[in-house]
Subunit: 495 residues, 2 copies
């Protein structure tokens, strides 16, 4: 019997190998390529232990968000004590905001580095979805790169979830490379989205593999929804502005695009696919999402490089059927590389990310509601925002049927200080903040981006601050900084 | 007559060549290597024009702060309409906070990139202090690198201020190299502080040089002050912690140090020089300040790489007398390189910067008093904080004789979000925030870093927030976030 056959067991048996206090380093990034059977079995085990009064909690490190069979199942079973660096699961989020799960929100490009340098605990067990295991111990990763190579290298024990749903569709799609750590670090020679610098398989230490669990479950990605009018409007404003910058000679040809996740980001990609004037483009991004496919299908996609291929179930099947063609245009990297500041700077990226909240001075909040409740996390937005050639933050101007303005006097949490932001876009318009001092930024944002209902209160705040703040440089009166947020917390409306 | 002789003129004549609305790109970084005679003459000219009712204002781009004969003189003459990316002059600061000068505070490592990519206006005239001009148009820069190469390349006209005070002391000290812009960017092969990758002179287009003004004035740097007890205490805590990390195997040998500017940073360098256990070290930093010299003199300095050599007048003279020996240990780069994220990541930097204000959740304010009044600017602190291997933010726990706590519920301005901070140090103690969720960070900071007078109000704020904030994840009650700041604005005391 080969070593592979000898390690095969059920998910329940594998879950038995995980003990209270273990630090799990799992594969998976934005609902792509995470283990499914083992976390679900682990949640069952935790539930049984809890029912009989035995404590059982683990720390969960991932690439980014995982699906409900991982984050959701484990959260509902109260099996997680600590989570990082990103999540998007409702049950997990609820526990984080109730204080029953500790959570650290980290730059996604930095998570692997934090583990490798000992800034956070080393995983005691790596649980990684793979699509092939070779006799010599090489494995083919699944639909995401994430931090899988780091966890496989650093954890003393490994459990592989061998997923057969994708056949050999993922073979050849990965570019497995990580930079060395200082003082031996050298740059990876990636100069454009298409550059490959590593192997396509990951070599695993066979002696560390304690279990192999078979699975055929799909990534739990919801069906793609066509953009609404507001999102489409934002997408078109961005494309118009890019054309304008190109016409002024301020944007060289040959840059790559990065697009965040969500319906507004999807709308931008959809607008690109529909735009006849747009020539072939490359993406150097984090998540290659379903909205990229129209670009691929109509011949406009050169290469999309990312760390996750996030597709709905039907599109995962389409990928399997067309993988040899699609793979010519797709590269999946480790997230330390997809989100690497130096590669982003070199390749030259036009970055587009969704803001949860913006303020009139140019600060952006990507993560916290009312300054305290975690939504998902900062993700890779800061990796791209600070290092891009041209950066957009976009959001509809209002939320909750107009009760909330997405543009506020001062964001309730700062993920991106004004030093790191360039262009704000809502369906109301676009504000190019580059080269503007604070008061000028404020007036432009109020005029161009704010919903008409909120222009007067924001102008009033600005005028008050110009009179009463300690310095006029940044006209922010602390006493009224959060007045719209406080009103919302009291009444459910910002006005 | 050579072209050099033919261009020589008085500072007043050169100032006549500058017109209302010009964008000046000047040399100079942290009071080192800025033009002195020309800005002073320009200020005189502006004053005369203003006296006769003629408007005259210029935009001033620099490396970083310049001395009083530049920033101060021009501010007092009301000759500046717009300034970026950093300053430290009292007259200029006053005008910025009064709103009569517009100011953008930018990452110092990014300023050159913003100019090169057209994100801010292109300088119309470069005014650069040089210490030698060769017949073929090559020039030797002075005590700083700054953005001089960018301004000399991009501005259509050039005025050189040829300073003779340094003789040939600066010849050979510079490493003149800039990375190409995307899509042609390649990494500069700098792998350690000592690596040189460029020329020592800058080639200037002779046809663009409109004037050469001779000068012998010294950089206006105040005399070095020996560290006080509080600063020494902080310095020793940092060194102790570094030793502790090394003993745990979490810090590899061979990393380089970065040290911010100011008395606390000086104290750290002084503590290093005095420490017998410390072996030879390299600095990969922004400003090579006077406190580096004891390390050089006692043989502990391998190489100090920076973008400025900021020395008091007497020490500038000492540099001239010993330059051949000192230059073996010193490299001055362009600030896009000294502060480059990718080089900082590769070299592996232990970063130490002064905070103006910290909060209990791990955010840092480096720039604004009471959220609105500019002090100096963010400087290069974010270039290093986000990309370092190990990062310290340090400050005395109180200011103004105890009226102000340096640790507050929530900083009045966020320059460094908690994602980018690692270790907080005051004379009260040190808090290692890595791997801690928000509430745990808050409790550790209150216990270890906060002055005893402020522990109770900060704990009270935290407990209130845990009960009343929308989410427990980040226990920040917006209604009380700035209560200590508001009290200070009303009464002059935070308690």
């Amino acid at each position: 019997m080969s070593w592979i056959e000898s390690k095969k067991c059920s998910a329940a048996e594998a879950a038995e190998m995980i003990v209270d206090g273990d630090v799990l380093g799992v594969s998976g990034f934005t609902l792509a390529g995470y283990p499914k059977e083992i976390p679900t079995a682990l949640a069952d085990r935790a539930q049984r232990l809890h029912d009989s009064g035995v404590p059982f909690k683990i720390t969960l490190f991932s690439g980014a968000s995982t699906g409900d069979s991982c984050d959701g199942a484990l959260a509902r079973a109260e099996a997680v004590s600590f989570r990082m660096p990103y999540q998007s699961n409702p049950a997990l989020r609820k526990a984080i905001n109730a204080g029953t799960i500790k959570y650290i929100d980290a730059h996604l490009g930095k998570m692997g580095h934090l583990v490798r340098t000992g800034a956070v605990p080393c995983p005691t067990i790596a649980i990684v979805e793979v699509t092939a295991i070779l006799p010599d111990g090489r494995v083919c990763l699944s639909t995401s790169g994430g931090n899988s190579v780091t966890y496989l290298e650093m954890a003393p024990r490994i459990i592989l979830e061998l997923n057969t749903r994708l056949g050999d569709a993922c073979v050849g799609i990965h570019d497995v490379a990580l930079p060395e750590l200082p003082p031996h670090a050298r740059p990876l020679p990636i100069y454009s989205a298409a550059d490959r610098v590593g192997d396509t398989f990951v070599q695993v230490d066979i002696n560390k593999v304690v279990a192999i669990v078979e699975s055929s479950r799909y990534d739990e990605v919801t069906q793609f929804v066509e953009p609404d009018d507001v999102s489409r409007n934002i997408g078109e404003r961005i494309l118009d502005f890019i054309r304008f910058e190109e016409s002024r000679g301020r944007l060289p040809k040959g840059l790559a695009y990065q697009s965040g996740v969500g319906k507004v980001a999807n709308a931008v990609l959809s607008a690109m696919a529909a735009d006849d004037r747009l020539q072939q483009i490359d993406l150097y991004t984090e998540v290659i999402q379903e909205a990229v496919l129209p670009l691929l299908k109509n011949g406009k996609l050169g290469v999309a490089s990312g760390t996750a291929l996030t597709l709905s179930e039907s599109t995962q099947k389409e990928f399997v059927a067309n993988s040899s063609e699609w793979k010519k245009h797709l590269i999946i990297r480790q997230q330390e590389v997809s989100n690497s500041p130096d590669v982003i700077r070199r390749v030259g990226v036009i970055s587009m990310n969704t803001a949860l909240e913006m303020d009139i001075f140019g600060n952006v909040n990507s993560s916290l509601v009312s300054g305290s409740a975690m939504m998902n996390g900062i993700g890779g937005s800061a990796d791209f925002a600070r290092n891009c050639m041209l950066g957009f933050f976009m959001t509809p101007s209002v939320a909750k049927n107009g009760a909330i303005s997405s543009v506020v006097p001062y964001v309730s949490h700062v993920d991106h200080p004004d030093h790191d932001t360039m262009i704000f876009v809502t369906e109301q318009g676009l504000a190019d903040l580059r080269g503007l001092a604070a008061e000028d930024r404020a007036r432009l944002i109020i005029r161009n981006c704010v919903h008409p209902d909120f222009r007067e209160p924001l102008t009033d705040f600005l005028e008050y601050s110009l009179k009463h703040a300690k310095g006029v440089h940044m006209p922010l009166a602390l006493s009224r900084a959060f007045e719209m947020h406080e009103k919302f917390l009291e009444t459910g409306k910002m006005l």
